[in-house]
Each structure stands twice: as structure tokens, then as C-alpha cells.
Amino acid sequence: MTAAGIALDQVVADQPTAASATWTAFRRNPLGLVSLAVLAALVVVAVAAPLIADYPGGYGPAVLTPPSGQHWFGTDNLGRDIFAEVVWGTRISMLVAALSSALAIVIGVLVAVLGAYFPKVDTMVGTVVDLALSLPVLPLMILVAALAGPSLATVVVVIALFSWPEVARVVRSQALAVVRLPYIDAARLTGGSWLWIIRRHLVPAVAPVIVVSVVLTASRAVLSAAGLAFLGLGDPNSWSWGRILYEAQQSGAMSSAWWTTLFPSLAMLALVVSATLISIAYNDARNPRTREN
């Protein structure tokens, strides 16, 4: 090996990887770190729900009592502890968000990447995505959820079914730019199959966009699931944040007892705001231009 070659290796080795540079920049953003902590705390609550509070099932004698030392978030119209409802609701709400966004991401990325690689497919993909995005999605979700019957699986599938076009739109615009780059042509010239090129070269190149999409789709899924639950289309057998609000509205408790709606609303807000801020901070950290200052 020549001296120049060794020197080049040295330089390449000293260069921080893109991921570590992003992480270094991310760590310097206090808002991003706080959001990450909030999200982590919510995940812990979701996982450890049985350790934190008993399942809110039994009716209690203390009906609609305001927050106190015994019931931190007060009780609902049937005397159930709202703190326990919110804790167990965290579990279901985050599970629904994670599952439906995972499903939406898989469909959306697949459609977007295939479309970007095969121009013939892309015309159709572009049209379908544009059409789907211009429709009012919530009424459509309501229709499907009502027909399929309320259950956890219904909610997950319905949300995924109508969230992937947004993922496809974002990933597609990035993938279309990447496909035109010379290294993809080079990969093609080496005789690689389209599957290999897409898997090894196209998907990694759009991975950052996918990361942002995961976070945003999941947080939007929380709101969609809550919307369905609020209209009575959630799973009636498990607690979610939307169901707490739905029951408060159904029983009329929301007009007399502010605590029945405030705490689940705050939990939802904390999750969605922190997810949004994380995606913003990640985008800033990834972008060398904003990273400098």
C-alpha cells in the first residue's frame, strides 16, 4: 500500500461516523434531551403499569372526588382511580401507536421505495398518495372501525391503513432524489438485482427520513386512536387515554369534574409534544448546516 493510501485510511478512520456526529449534536439540544427523557419515562410507565397501579376495574364508593393524596388524579363517575386509568391507558395508547405506526411505516416505505425505483409504478403511487391525502381521513376511519367492530386489532389496522400515504409521500420525495444519484447507477452496473439495490443502497439512504416518519406517525396515531375512542370506537375492554375522555363525556362528568379530562389530556400532550420535539431536534442534529451554530 502506498503512503498516500495509508494517509487516506487514517483520515477516514478519524472522521466521526454520521450517526455519532448526529448524536453529539443532538445531545447539545436541551429541548431534545428533555423530550427524550419524557418519552423514556412514558415508556417505563407503559411497561411497568402493573407495578405502578392496580388495574382500574373495581367500582369504588368515592365517586367523582377531586385529586387527593389517596387518588392523585381524582376518581371518575364510577369511583375508579383516574391515576390508574391514565397509567394503564399509557400502555394501550403507546402499544396502539407503536403497532399502527410500524405497520404504516412498512407499507409506506415499501410503496415509496418501489415507486421511486420503478418509474412505471411511481406514477400510480404518486396519484394514489395524493388522492388519499386530500380526503378527510377521520370520517373514513370511523366508517371502517364501525363496520369492523371495535377492538384493539381494528384500531391498529384502521390507523395503519390510512396513515401510510403520509409516510409514502415523505419517503418517496427523498427516495426519488436518491435514485438519481450516480452510486445507484453504479450498483446497477455491477449487476446487482433490484431487490439488493433497494435493500442495501436505497433504504439506508432514506433511513433518516424513515426515523422521523416513525416518530411523527406514532404520535399522530396516538391522536387518531384517541379520536376513534372518543367517538366510542375504541376497544371497550382496555383502558386508553381516549376511552377515559369518552367515558367522561358519556357520563357528563367532563362538565363537573375537570380532573376526569385534564390528566389524560396532559398525558397525550406530553407524548405527542415530546415526539414532535425529538423529530425536530433529530432533523436539526442531522443537518450539518444547523449543526454548526
Binding site: L135, G227, M254, S255, T261, S265, T276
Partner: protein, 321 residues
């Protein structure tokens, strides 16, 4: 063919395509889902003969393609079927409710634009100022909030605690004449403000970003250099161009706005289509749910056509694309 005609034709063609898409997926979903209407109509304790008669009556025994053709033909005629619970045409049920939804969404759009433009201008002209920071925080929070949470908070505070505004419905019974308009306006305030609060954030953030871009462009630098007052550069030169992408955003978010209206109407018992959807859900009235979606989709598509055409008139570049 003059370019304007082509432009209008393209936009109309697109609108028709969107509507066809919306109605077709509705049809397919209704027929393919586990709880399909045939099962909804026929209960297991009916005799097979009664089931067959019922299915024939609803046209559900015919091949899928024939059903699809009939469905489209009925839609073209404005026939959305018959409500299961009320036994009246779905079109009648919904058209009675549509004006309230249009009033709610239309007024919230107007207020959003009327408040959003000055806010966006102030934030963009003093970047990193106090107001700009507030706008950025408010933008993120506004996009993240659950619509019923805002609606319930407003209802609790201004309707129940302060008793400034009515807590539900769209009008009080027994009020007529000039008083009626005031009454309707008073009932509109809280639902409208709920929707404004959730969409103002993204509007202001987009306007702010595009306005900062516009202000950095050569023509704005030139306008400042030739001695035009700053106020004029911002309002007459930069804002005009910045408003165009912002208007497109409003069009794109109409579907989201309609979803917000459904939830807001549910909270305030506002007699629009959204509340109708809520009631249809509790009664499992599928034809109404289907009709509501088709009608709302049609409204959104129509509103998009109108904004597109207005956009084309305002900006000659769009027409030639």
C-alpha cells in the same frame, strides 16, 4: 387551447378522479370488511327465505360489479341510501346538517387566516424575539394537542365556570329575528376557537418560514435598498409571495380540519355532520356514516378546486405548469 382552459380542465378532472377514488374505496371497504352490510341487514335468527328477500331488496344478492355500477349511478343522482334508524334518505339527514359544519369550518378558517397573518408577519420580522419564540412553542403544541381536550377545556372554562358563552348546540329555541344571528354567533364562538387553536400553529409556522425565505430574496433586498419603508417591503412584497404556499397548505389540511370538526361538534353537541357521525356510530347506522364520508370528501374536494382556481388566477406561474 388557451392555457387557462387547460388549467381549469386539469383541476376539474383531478377533482372528479378524487371523488371517484373516495367513493370506490368506500364501496370496496363496505363489501370486503368482516361486518359487511349483508350481515348487518340479515340477522342469524331470520329464516333463510327472509334473509334472501332482504338481501334482494337491498340489491346485495347481485354480482359485485353490478352492485358497484348501481352504487355509482345512485351517487351521481345524489342518492346515498336510506338511514337505518331514521328511515329517511341519508341525503336529507345530512344536507340539513351540512350548513352548520360549513359555518363552523369556514369561520374557523377565516379566523385562522385573520389571526395567523399578523402573527406570522410579526414573528418573521423579529426572528428569535419573544413573540417568535412563543409562536414556535405554540406552533408545536397546537399541532400536538388532541382536539377534544381543547374543546372540553374551553367549554369548562368559558361555558361552565365563567358562564360567558353557551355550552352546546348551535342556537337557542324560541329566538327569532336579529337576535337569532347574535345567538348563533354566540354558540359558534367556542367550537370555532377550538378549531382555530389546533390549526393556527401550523399556519403561522409555515407563513413564518416562507416569509423569512421571501425576505431574504433579491427582490426584497432590492426593495429595501431603493428606500422602501420596511413595512411596505414586508406587507406588499414579501407577504404576497409567502401567502401562496401557505394557502396551498390550508387546502391540504382541509381533510384534517374536517376531522377536527367531527370531534369538536361531538363535544359541543353542535348539530353538524360530525355530531351526526357520532350519533350514527352509537346506532351503527352505516348508510349515514358512508354518506357522511362521501359528502365531507366532496366538500373538501370542492373547496380544494375553488382554492386551486383562485390560486391560478392570483399566480400566473401556476397556470402554465
Amino acid at each position: 387551447m388557451p392555457p387557462v382552459v387547460g388549467f381549469v380542465a386539469r383541476r376539474l378532472g383531478r377533482a372528479v378522479l378524487t371523488l371517484w377514488f373516495a367513493t370506490t374505496i368506500t364501496f370496496l371497504l363496505l363489501r370486503l370488511l368482516p361486518g359487511n352490510p349483508a350481515l348487518a341487514v340479515a340477522t342469524p335468527n331470520m329464516t333463510p327465505q327472509t334473509q334472501a328477500i332482504l338481501l334482494r331488496q337491498y340489491g346485495l344478492d347481485e354480482p359485485l360489479l353490478v352492485q358497484y355500477g348501481k352504487y355509482l349511478w345512485q351517487l351521481v343522482q345524489g342518492n346515498l341510501g336510506v338511514s337505518i334508524t331514521q328511515s329517511v334518505p341519508v341525503t336529507d339527514v345530512l344536507l340539513e346538517r351540512l350548513p352548520w359544519t360549513l359555518l363552523l369550518t369556514g369561520s374557523s378558517l377565516l379566523v385562522t387566516v385573520a389571526v395567523g397573518i399578523p402573527l406570522g408577519v410579526l414573528a418573521a420580522t423579529r426572528p428569535s424575539g419573544l413573540l417568535d419564540r412563543l409562536v414556535q412553542v405554540g406552533g408545536v403544541v397546537g399541532q400536538s394537542v388532541f382536539v377534544p381536550s381543547v374543546a372540553i377545556a374551553l367549554l369548562f372554562l368559558f361555558g361552565l365556570q365563567l358562564r360567558w358563552l353557551p355550552i352546546g348546540g348551535a342556537y337557542s329555541p324560541g329566538v327569532y329575528g336579529g337576535q337569532w344571528y347574535l345567538d348563533v354567533a354566540a354558540h359558534l364562538v367556542l367550537p370555532c376557537v377550538s378549531l382555530v387553536l389546533v390549526q393556527l400553529g401550523s399556519y403561522v409556522l409555515t407563513l413564518r418560514a416562507t416569509l423569512i425565505d421571501s425576505l431574504g430574496e433579491d427582490y426584497c433586498v432590492l426593495a429595501t435598498a431603493k428606500g422602501l419603508p420596511h413595512r411596505k417591503v414586508v406587507w406588499k412584497h414579501a407577504l404576497r409571495n409567502a401567502l401562496l404556499p401557505t394557502t396551498t397548505l390550508v387546502g391540504l389540511q382541509l381533510g384534517f380540519l374536517v376531522g377536527g370538526a367531527v370531534l369538536t361538534e361531538t363535544v359541543f353537541a353542535y348539530p353538524g355532520i360530525g355530531r351526526g357521525i357520532y350519533e350514527a356510530v352509537t346506532q351503527l347506522d352505516y348508510p349515514v356514516l358512508q354518506g357522511a364520508f362521501v359528502l365531507l370528501a366532496a366538500t373538501v374536494v370542492l373547496a380544494n378546486v375553488v382554492t386551486d382556481l383562485a390560486y391560478g388566477l392570483l399566480d400566473p406561474r401556476v397556470r402554465t405548469q
